[in-house]
Each structure stands twice: as structure tokens, then as C-alpha cells.
Symmetry: C2
Subunit: 205 residues, 2 copies
């Protein structure tokens, strides 16, 4: 066994693996998988390259570990959408949580965006296995709300896409937003998005 993490990870293991993953998140989210180098990650983590390879089986192993961890964080806000709550409140809450994540975890958002942009080569299994069932479940839920007349009739799938797009935009396209607004404006974004989704979702007459 050259694998040090078969059994219980020691204190040192946890600390160093954590440092490496944090550094890798930083580098991968900025340059994408192929653009990131182990040397960059090593320097950002303050750990030598061979030492990094003591904790992970290789570059890809680090990336995959990161993506797996990310998937959970990523799905949480959607999972939290409560079937028994008020539909409009639940959807606006989801928008709010996604926007908060863009503000608080922009690196995670960009890591994800990078992976999807490049065709999700290391993530499509996860998308199929974890995201898709949840997506379909929530689409069905939204459809029942629509059928019950509690929401205006719009395509649940495209509604979710637009929520993802509009909220993640502030993390993924931050460089552009910075240039155009001379700084971030999450307050303005929140106000606008609440308005946008309230208007389209409120049932008409």
C-alpha cells in the first residue's frame, strides 16, 4: 500500500490534504484543469510537489476530489427547496441562496464553470448520477405548483437554468462585472433578481 489514506487519516493528513485542496481550488478555478500546474498548487499550498504526490495519486486525483466535494455544496441550495413551503417564497429563497454562494464561494463557482465549459470531461458521471435526478425531481415539483395555479406557467427546466445563469454570472464573469460597474454590486443584483423572478412567477389573474 502506497496509499496513506486507507484507514483513519491522521491529524497531519487532514491538515495537509486540506491545504492542498484549498490551494488546488484556487489554481484550478483560475486556470482550468489543463492550465493549472502541480508547481503552482505546491507553491500555493506551501508544500513541496513530491509531498503533494504523497497525499494524492496525481493531478487528476486532486481535481476529481475537488469536484466530488463541490458537488455536495452545489446541490444543497436546490435540495433545500421545500415542497411544503409557499412556492414563490421557496423559489425566491433558492435564488437568494444561489446568489449568496456566488458571493461567498466564487472559486467553487468558477471551478464548476471551467469544468462544464470544457465539456465536463471529469464530471458528467456526477451530473448524471447526482444532479440529474435532483433536477428532475425539482422540475416535477415546480410543475405541480404550476398545475395547482400557485405559479405562472413557465418551463421549470428553463426557469432553473435561468436562475443558475443569472446568479452564477456574478462569480463566473466577475472580471467583466468589475470593469463595467467599477466594483461588485450584490445588493443591486439581489434587488433586480427578486424583481425578475417575482414578475415572471406570480400567477396572473
Amino acid at each position: 500500500m502506497t496509499e496513506p489514506r486507507e484507514k483513519k487519516p491522521s491529524r497531519i493528513q487532514q491538515r495537509n490534504r486540506g491545504k492542498i485542496l484549498d490551494a488546488a481550488l484556487h489554481v484550478f478555478s483560475q486556470h482550468g484543469y489543463r492550465g493549472a500546474t502541480l508547481d503552482q498548487i505546491a507553491e500555493a499550498a506551501g508544500i513541496s510537489k513530491p509531498n503533494i504526490l504523497y497525499y494524492f495519486n496525481g493531478k487528476e486525483d486532486i481535481h476529481v476530489t475537488l469536484l466530488s466535494q463541490l458537488m455536495e455544496t452545489w446541490l444543497d441550495p436546490l435540495i433545500d427547496m421545500n415542497p411544503d413551503g409557499d412556492p414563490l417564497t421557496e423559489l425566491l429563497g433558492y435564488v437568494q441562496r444561489k446568489l449568496d454562494m456566488s458571493r461567498d464561494f466564487p472559486r467553487e463557482s468558477r471551478l464548476f464553470a471551467n469544468e462544464i465549459l470544457q465539456g465536463a470531461p471529469r464530471m458528467s458521471p456526477h451530473l448524471e448520477a447526482a444532479l440529474k435526478p435532483l433536477f428532475e425531481e425539482k422540475c416535477a415539483l415546480i410543475q405541480t405548483w404550476i398545475d395547482a395555479g400557485q405559479l405562472a406557467p413557465v418551463s421549470p427546466a428553463h426557469l432553473i437554468f435561468s436562475i443558475w445563469a443569472t446568479t452564477q454570472h456574478y462569480a463566473d464573469f466577475d472580471a467583466q462585472v468589475q470593469v463595467l460597474l467599477d466594483g461588485p454590486d450584490y445588493k443591486g443584483a439581489e434587488e433586480y433578481l427578486v424583481r425578475l423572478y417575482t414578475d415572471v412567477l406570480a400567477p396572473k389573474s
Copy 2:
């Protein structure tokens, strides 16, 4: 002068530069700047690597050329928004043109997304010089429409962001959309987005 394109480009020049740029668009849009290699571009173009370096000064030169060309294409739909037209019609037309571009030029969209995602290192001058003035002009235009009571009062800047985000999503996150919808659905996207922006922009009472 080792630069062959100082004067009028010959037929061969135009053809080969075109082939190289097309191949480079393909590769850069898929892997990002640092993830793309000259060998990949050479193979995709059907031109040997040294020959590519006869036409361009280096990898960065190709990338910059591509981004400059792209900027024009990219701004066109926004430029076409007519101050003298009907506000809602103009904005919905803009949404439509952007969505068409996502469908017809997904590689261009992803090239742009890659560059912004990585902090726009080679593009922020262009953003400042070309995009920002246009953005501010159109924000002002939308504001006059709002002030005239022809549109509901929403932040013009965030409105434009959301139009970008929702339309480009279908090109940039295509891999995800494919998984979740089992194929593209530009028809559904169009219908949804028209609805979304009609509802938020129509002046109330």
C-alpha cells in the same frame, strides 16, 4: 522583416490565417488559453507547427487576434439596439439575437467565457475600451425609456447582465444542458426568455 503580413496579404495568406484562426478557436474555446497547445491547433488546422509560427508571432498572438475579432461580433447585437424603436421590442430583439448567437456561435461564446473566467488577462483593455462605453451608452438609453414610463423601473446594468447570462448559458453550459434535457432546446429557451423579459419589463399600470 520576418513579418509576412506587413502589406497586402496574398490569397494563401488569407486562406491559411483563416484556417489557423478557425482551428485555434476550436481548441482555445475547449481548453482555455493555457490548456491549448500549438500542436493541437496545428493538427486541427492541417498545418505544421513551424508553419503556423510563420503566420503568427506565437501562441499569444493567435489568441489576441481571435479575441479582437470576436469583440466586434460580440458587440454587434447590442449596437443594433435602436434608440428610436419600441423599447420592449428592442430589448426582446436583443435577447433573441443573443440567443441566436449562442446557438450559432457556441465556440465564440465559450472562448469569451474562458477568457473572462480566468480574469480577462488578455482582454480587459478591450473590455475597457470597447465594451464599457457601449454598455454605459445602452444603460443610459434604457434609463431614458424607464424615465419615460415605457419600461418598468429595473436596474439597466443588471438587466443587461441577466440577458447575457441567460442567453450565453445555453452555449457555455451546453454540456450540462445536454445531460439534463437529453439534447438542446432552443425553442423552449426562446419561449421562456421572451416570457421572462416581457414580464419584468412591461410597465405596470
